[in-house]
């Protein structure tokens, strides 16, 4: 059954080559629209990576700050007092 479906799909591609190769979002092939597509592709691709990176950086910075004043750090009152 699946082989029949595959053959049917291939036959459709052979019969309708224009529809098969058409791109639903590739309209207005001028320079400005090409730039817009490129820019938005870059924007939507890099934005999640940038945000994950920024979040990781915030967590790392907070962890570093917490290490400096964590429970292991010496408290001023716990330090031995010098003898008079």
């Amino acid at each position: 059954m699946s082989r029949f479906a595959l053959l049917f799909a291939l036959a459709l591609l052979a019969v309708l080559p224009d529809a098969a190769s058409a791109c639903s979002v590739c309209y207005g092939g001028d320079e400005e629209s090409r730039k817009a597509f490129l820019f938005t592709t870059v924007l939507l691709s890099l934005l999640p990576i940038g945000m994950i990176g920024a979040l990781a950086w915030i967590v790392w910075r907070s962890a570093k700050a917490a290490d400096g004043e964590g429970p292991g750090a010496p408290e001023p009152a716990a330090r031995p007092l010098p003898h008079p």
Partner: protein, 196 residues
């Protein structure tokens, strides 16, 4: 006479402290999702504008109020600055944060009211949700941002109310600040893209 000795016992919580307050982390994740929502809308708007035949905005559609909105943008940015001041004051003396927070909320409310006034003017001039693609995207993007501003104002008002009663947690205030900074930081981008 026996000398009494006092022993000081320090009780420490064995659980590790969270690196980042949960409320702030949750808000950062939520804001990340919101950023992608607006990035999608901005992308759609840019492609529509680039592929539109003729001038943009389309002929017969009114110009957006660039200068008036610049004033409104300044008010919103000032509100973020005052919120930053409030947060710094909160770290030292929480009572001192009430005043800058109140003014920040007032400026945010001014932004929403001014936007509403602008919308009334735009609708009277013929720019509606169905008048053109220009109108559709204007009301969709700017309206969605406006909803976020109203939500941010609600969060800030809640923080103000708790601060006045003296039981505002630092993490809650931090989460509110993250959301408001997102709302304010997004607006200049929208303003430059949609209005110019």
């Amino acid at each position: 006479m026996a000398r009494s000795t006092a022993t000081l016992r320090v009780i420490t919580d064995p659980r590790p402290r969270p690196v980042l307050p949960s409320a702030v982390l949750a808000m950062l994740i939520f804001v990340s999702a919101e950023v992608m929502l607006f990035a999608g809308l901005i992308s759609a708007f840019l492609i529509l504008r680039a592929t539109a035949a003729g001038a943009w905005p389309p002929a017969g559609q009114p110009r957006l109020p660039l200068e008036e909105t610049a004033l409104n943008t300044a008010a919103l940015i000032a509100s973020a600055f005052l919120l930053w001041r409030a947060r710094r004051a909160f770290a030292d003396t929480p009572a001192h944060a009430v005043r800058p927070l109140s003014i920040a909320i007032g400026l945010g409310a001014f932004f929403v009211l001014f936007q509403g006034y602008e919308w009334v003017m735009m609708i009277r001039q013929g720019l509606t949700l169905t008048s053109s693609n220009h109108g559709s995207f204007f009301y969709l993007i700017v309206g969605l941002h406006g909803i976020h501003v109203v939500a941010g104002l609600s969060v800030l008002s809640w923080a103000w109310w708790r601060l006045r009663r003296g039981f505002l947690a630092s993490s809650s205030f931090g989460a509110a600040q993250v959301f408001w900074f997102f709302v304010v930081g997004l607006w200049p981008i929208l303003y430059l893209l949609v209005y110019t």
